[in-house]
C-alpha cells in the first residue's frame, strides 16, 4: 500500500483547460492533449523550453505514450507524465514553500518568454512539491507568445501567489489559510482591504495589489476599454512586469512569529536532549520490523522524528498545525537536500476538505490516504484534551488513515497535560492508559508497548484491524 498521490481524482483536477486532461488507465497516469493545443505543444518541444525546464528540475518530465486517446473526439496525443508521489495544495504550504512556488512560476515565465512562449495560466495548483522543491506539473500551461499582448495570467498570479504571500508576510501568517476558501486565489480587493495601510506606500505591493485591485473595480464589465488602451504591451514591458513581480515576491519575508510550539523541544522538560535521543531510538526500533512505506507524521513539529522514520520510508509527509514549525522544517529540507521529506501545514482537528467543483477538484486530507505508517507522537493529549475529541473517535480516525501506527500516550500526570488542565475542568474520565487501550483495541491490534524511562509516557506500535 502506498499513498494515493493522484488516484482517479486526477481527472477532477484537470477539467478546466480545453487543451487536455489527465486520466488513469490500468493504474497508469496519462495526459491527453487535444488538437487545439497541438501547435503550442510542438513549439514547447521544438523551441527547447521543455528540455531546459526538465533539465533544471523545474518541470515534471513526460514520455509520449502509444495508447489510444481517452476521448477520441479532438484528441491529438497522449503523454505519460512522471507520477508524483504525493499531491499537496497551496493552503498546506508554509510561507517559503509558497514563495518558492511563486519564484519558480516567474522563472519559468522568463525562460518561456526568451523562447517565444508564455504561461497562459499561473495557478498555484500547477505547482507541486517534488524531491524537496517545487516543480511545474502542467505541460499544457504554455502557449505561443504574441507580441503586444499582456500577460493573461497576471491576475491569477497576483491572486494565487502575491496576495497570500503579502498577507502572510505583512499582516498575519495564518491568512495563508484564505486559500482554502478561495480556490482561484485571494480576490485582490479583499487582499487590498486586509493589508496594512503602509503597504500602499511600497512600490511593488502598491502597484500589483492596491492599484491593480482598484483597476479591476474600475474597469470591470468594460471590455471596450481594452480596445482603447490597446497601445500595446511591448516585450520590454512584459519583462518589466515579470521583474517587478519577482522583486515584489523576493521582498516578502516570513514573519518571525514565534509559533506556539516552535521551541517545544527546547522548552518542555519532559524530554531533555537525552530523553529525545532515547525516544528516537525507540521509534527506530519499533519501525525496524514494519514495512514502513509512506509515512505521515501527524503533529511532526519541526520533523525530528519524521527524519527517523524517513530512514526506512519511501516518503515522509510531516504535518503540523504550526506554520512556523513547518517553515523551520522546510528550511531544513532545503538545507540538507532531503528529497523524500515533505513538511505540510495542517490542523488535524479541521483537516483539508474536498474543495472546488463538486467537492472533488482538490482532494481532502483523508482522500489522500490511507498510508502504510502513521506517527502520532506527543499528539493525543492535544486532540483529546485541548480539543475534546473522545479517544474512540481518535482511534477510528487513525484506523482509516494507516496500516501501522506508532502512537505515544501522554497521561494526565504529564506536565504538559497538567498545564492544559490547569485552566479548565477535567471532564476526561476515560483519559488514562486503560481507557486509551480499550478505545484503540477496537480498531487496532497492539504489537508492542514501550514505556519511556523517567517519564510516564508510553509508545505503542499498533496494526489496524481495517484489513488494508
Amino acid at each position: 500500500m502506498t499513498s494515493t498521490g493522484c488516484s482517479e481524482d486526477c481527472r477532477h483536477a484537470s477539467f478546466r483547460d480545453p487543451s487536455g486532461f489527465l486520466f488513469r488507465r490500468d493504474g497508469v497516469l496519462y495526459r491527453q492533449i487535444n488538437s487545439s493545443y497541438q501547435s503550442h505543444y510542438e513549439l514547447l518541444l521544438n523551441c527547447g523550453l521543455y528540455d531546459e525546464l526538465v533539465r533544471a528540475g523545474q518541470m515534471v518530465p513526460h514520455d509520449e505514450a502509444a495508447i489510444p486517446a481517452e476521448v477520441t473526439d479532438g484528441a491529438y496525443r497522449v503523454i505519460q507524465p512522471h507520477e508524483l508521489p504525493f499531491i499537496s495544495y497551496p493552503y498546506e504550504w508554509c510561507f517559503s514553500q509558497l514563495k518558492d512556488a511563486a519564484l519558480l512560476t516567474l522563472d519559468v515565465q522568463k525562460k518561456a518568454l526568451a523562447r517565444g512562449m508564455v504561461l497562459k495560466d499561473a495557478s498555484a495548483y500547477n505547482v507541486q512539491m517534488m524531491d524537496g522543491h517545487p516543480v511545474l506539473i502542467d505541460t499544457l500551461s504554455f502557449e505561443q507568445y504574441v507580441e503586444g499582448r499582456p500577460w493573461v495570467a497576471y491576475r491569477q498570479f497576483c491572486q494565487h501567489f502575491l496576495a497570500p504571500l503579502a498577507l502572510m508576510s505583512r499582516r498575519d501568517i495564518r491568512l495563508g489559510q484564505l486559500l482554502r476558501c478561495y480556490i482561484d486565489g485571494i480576490p485582490l480587493d479583499l487582499a487590498s482591504r486586509l493589508l496594512p495601510k503602509r503597504t500602499f506606500l511600497t512600490f511593488t505591493l502598491g502597484l500589483h495589489i492596491h492599484a491593480h485591485a482598484r483597476s479591476q473595480r474600475r474597469y470591470a464589465d468594460r471590455p471596450k476599454q481594452i480596445r482603447r488602451a490597446r497601445a500595446g504591451f511591448s516585450r520590454r514591458s512584459f519583462i518589466g512586469l515579470i521583474d517587478s513581480l519577482e522583486s515584489a515576491v523576493k521582498k516578502l519575508t516570513c514573519p518571525a512569529v514565534r509559533g506556539e510550539w516552535s521551541d517545544y523541544y527546547a522548552s518542555q522538560h519532559n524530554y531533555a536532549e537525552e530523553g529525545l535521543e532515547k525516544k528516537e531510538a525507540v521509534i527506530e526500533d519499533l519501525l525496524a520490523d514494519v514495512p514502513v512505506g509512506v509515512v505521515w507524521d501527524l503533529g511532526a513539529n519541526t520533523g525530528r522524528f519524521s527524519r527517523i522514520a524517513q530512514r526506512r520510508a519511501s516518503l515522509t509527509v510531516a504535518w503540523d498545525v504550526d506554520p512556523t514549525c513547518v517553515e523551520l522544517n522546510y528550511r531544513q529540507v532545503l538545507r540538507d537536500r532531503e528529497e523524500d521529506l515533505l513538511p505540510l501545514w495542517l490542523d488535524l482537528t479541521n483537516p483539508s476538505g474536498g474543495t472546488g467543483w463538486a467537492n472533488v477538484e482538490r482532494m481532502s486530507f483523508m482522500r489522500r490516504g490511507p498510508v502504510d505508517t502513521a506517527l502520532a507522537l506527543g499528539l493525543i493529549h492535544h486532540i483529546a484534551i485541548a480539543n475534546n475529541v473522545p479517544l474512540d473517535r481518535i482511534a477510528a480516525f487513525l484506523a482509516d488513515l494507516c496500516r501501522w501506527l506508532v502512537i505515544e500516550f501522554v497521561p494526565k500526570e504529564d506536565s504538559q497535560v497538567q498545564r492544559m488542565l490547569s485552566t479548565r475542568q477535567d471532564i476526561f474520565n476515560n483519559y488514562h492508559a486503560e481507557g486509551f487501550q480499550a478505545a484503540f483495541n477496537k480498531r487496532f491490534t497492539v504489537e508492542k508497548i514501550v514505556p519511556i524511562d523517567g517519564i510516564k509516557r508510553t509508545i505503542y506500535l499498533m496494526k489496524t484491524r481495517n484489513g488494508f
Binding site: V152, R155, R236
Partner: protein
C-alpha cells in the same frame, strides 16, 4: 471577440487594462535597471572587482534586462536567448 479575451482563464478586464496602463512605467523600469547594471559593470571593469561581488550587488538577478529584451525581440523561438543577456563579463558594454 477581441483576441485578448481568448484565454481559457478569465484574465480580468481590469487586469488587462491595468497592464497596458502601466506598460510605459514597466518598460522604463527595465531600461533603468539595465542602465544601473551597466554602470555597475563599468565600475567593476574600472576597479576590477570580483564578478561574484557584482552578482550580489545586482540582487541576485543575473539577467541584463535590456540585453534580453533586445535579443528576445528578434522573435525567433528557435534561437535560445537565455544566455544572451547573462551577466557575464562578455555581455558588458
Amino acid at each position: 471577440m477581441h483576441r485578448f479575451l481568448l484565454a481559457y482563464i478569465d484574465p480580468g478586464t481590469g487586469s488587462l487594462i491595468f497592464q497596458m496602463l502601466v506598460a510605459g512605467a514597466l518598460s522604463a523600469l527595465v531600461v533603468f535597471k539595465a542602465i544601473r547594471l551597466r554602470i555597475v559593470y563599468l565600475f567593476r571593469a574600472i576597479f576590477r572587482l570580483d564578478p561574484k561581488d557584482e552578482a550580489d550587488a545586482s540582487e541576485g538577478n543575473d539577467i541584463d534586462p535590456l540585453a534580453s529584451a533586445d535579443v528576445a525581440s528578434t522573435g525567433d523561438p528557435a534561437q535560445p536567448t537565455e544566455t544572451a543577456g547573462r551577466d557575464s563579463p562578455g555581455a558588458a558594454p
